[in-house]
């Protein structure tokens, strides 16, 4: 039996290995290799030198961009998790199944509108002479400078990640065994204790996954820091684009990319470890 089915089995298993090997692992490995190449007269030449690593990692601008990006992504992940939680809580515990299903459907909708178009809409909305400041002006306040700042970029990150974080949190909260909460109440726990000692630990995996996705997406985003943050300061993604634009310095862009991927892996593994540690 096993022998007879092996052809069949491999027919289903191999396509992914071949395709992702050729078109996902291949490109990434090439990029790692490229980070050791040289550029002469705007042409890349295969080589094995550490010049690019040396150069990028010894430059202040790389580390400035690195810390800005890391800090902003962390802030975005915390903010998204905190902002999403009350809404996810309401959807998970106070909504009927139908309401919850529709809410999730409407949270999926934004993924199918162009992110660029949404950012452009924010650019218009947040402008100094734009609609939001006009409304604030009626109240006798403002105008506030919202674009070309960390605030602008953060609005963009929230646009990108908030719906996803709410969905993930809602699913993990809704999956909690309700009798657990009942039991806590019956044992005399107040709502706050129930929340912190029963609900949050039980939904830990979903909450952490939401946090990690928010971090990953914000860390790699190019559009918000560019069009709402005014590249002031640039993030790592902007640095990558700038570096490829200027004089074909792909090997240096590859160095930045490898550093980014390494960071994301470390964060993701740390989070997964935290999520599954001491699982009760």
């Amino acid at each position: 039996m096993a022998k007879k089915t092996s052809l069949y089995e491999y027919a289903w298993r191999l396509p992914l290995i071949l395709w992702q090997g050729l078109f996902f692992v291949g490109p990434l490995l090439l990029m790692v290799a490229m980070s050791f190449w040289l550029v002469r007269n705007y042409r890349m030449e295969p080589d094995f030198v550490f010049n690019n690593w040396d150069r990028m990692l010894s430059r202040d601008y790389f580390w400035n961009a690195y810390f800005v990006t890391f800090w902003r992504a962390t802030l975005a992940a915390i903010l998204a998790s905190v902002l999403a939680f009350p809404a996810s809580f309401a959807l998970a515990f106070r909504a009927s199944d139908t309401v919850r299903r529709w809410a999730v459907f409407f949270l999926i909708v934004p993924f199918f509108t162009s992110y660029l178009v949404r950012i452009y809409a924010w650019q218009v909305l947040l402008a100094e002479s734009g609609p939001l400041n006009a409304i604030i002006g009626f109240l006798g306040l403002g105008p506030f400078t919202m674009l070309n700042s960390g605030f602008g970029a953060m609005v963009g990150y929230m646009t990108l990640v908030l719906p996803l974080v709410v969905i993930l949190q809602t699913f993990s909260l809704a999956a909690i065994d309700k009798s657990l909460i009942e039991a806590a109440r019956n044992l005399g726990a107040n709502p706050r204790e129930t929340l912190l000692r029963v609900i949050v630990p039980a939904a830990k995996v979903g909450l952490i996954i939401g946090f990690v996705f928010a971090f990953i997406l914000s860390f790699g985003d190019f559009v918000s820091p560019f069009y709402l943050g005014g590249s002031n300061p640039p993030t790592l993604s902007i640095l990558i684009v700038d570096t490829t634009k200027s004089g074909q310095q792909w090997p240096r862009a590859a160095v930045v990319a490898v550093m980014m991927i390494a960071t994301l892996f470390v964060v993701a593994f740390a989070a997964v470890a935290a999520a599954y540690r001491k699982r009760s």
Partner: protein, 259 residues
């Protein structure tokens, strides 16, 4: 408790307002005459739609996008289904590595994927071509297709397939007559969703596309160029296209779960 619940619904409403603010404003501005809109709004106009869709390159971009989305969705769905079935049916050594390979692409920042893809595809002579974009979008879409198909397979009684084998059907025949029909709604919704993902993707496409621009790349170029509300007009049409695909997918899932 009553008040607490009222407050929490107000909060949910506010969150949805934030999420939908840019979507709604972009639609409103697409019919607004001002180039840099503010309140009060300008006059109603269809000018931006007329300007955008009188440009042949916008039509070419739509054609490119449709070709890319339709093809990438076929490949993503096929790959996703095969992978989901493998995960569902078989255990083997290095299965974790196999699953990592299947699920990692969404964690790689798009700018990096774009850079790596362009370098790689250029070596294969595929940069700047539609097949190049299709390949890139297939890599990105396959994990989503896999997740959808895997969820559906979870609902299948695994004894069903085994029963077919015991009745003398070859695995291929069992696949054709039992597994695929059972998964049909998931396969169709995976197709629609991956098509929608591809239809919206712009960063990797921007790196890879060269002179063959897709619609979102075109939007990016307007944003880098003369920045006008044509973006909203094109965006609204893209939104309606993607939503049609999503709703079709949703209907198919609901129809199947209710039957």
């Amino acid at each position: 408790m009553r008040i607490g619940s009222a407050i929490s619904w107000v909060y949910v409403a506010a969150l949805f307002a934030f999420v939908f603010a840019p979507i709604v404003t972009s639609m409103v501005f697409s019919f607004n005459s001002d180039r840099f809109p503010t309140v009060p709004l300008g006059e109603f106009t269809t000018h931006w739609y007329e300007t955008a869709f009188s440009r042949p390159e916008v039509w070419t971009a739509f054609r490119n996008s449709l070709i890319v989305a339709a093809s990438a969705a076929v490949f993503s769905t096929a790959l996703g289904f095969a992978t989901a079935y493998t995960d569902f049916r078989y255990g083997f050594r290095f299965k974790n590595a196999y699953l990592a390979l299947a699920l990692l692409p969404p964690t790689i920042p798009l700018v990096i994927l774009g850079l790596a893809m362009l370098a790689w595809l250029a070596r294969l002579g595929l940069s700047g071509t539609l097949p190049g974009i299709i390949i890139a979008h297939t890599v990105m879409g396959a994990p989503f297709a896999m997740a959808i198909c895997r969820l559906r397979l979870q609902q299948m009684d695994s004894a069903l397939e085994a029963a077919a084998w015991n009745l003398g059907a070859s695995p291929w025949r069992a696949m054709r007559t039992v597994v695929i029909p059972f998964c049909a709604p998931a396969i169709i919704s995976a197709y629609c969703l991956t098509a929608a993902v591809s239809f919206d993707e712009f960063i990797v496409a921007w790196f890879v596309s060269g002179l063959n621009k897709t619609v979102p790349v075109m939007i990016l170029e307007i944003l880098q160029g003369n920045v006008d509300p044509q973006i909203n007009a094109i965006g609204t049409v893209v939104f309606l296209t993607s939503m049609t695909l999503v709703i079709l997918a949703q209907l198919l899932i609901l129809r199947k779960t209710s039957s």
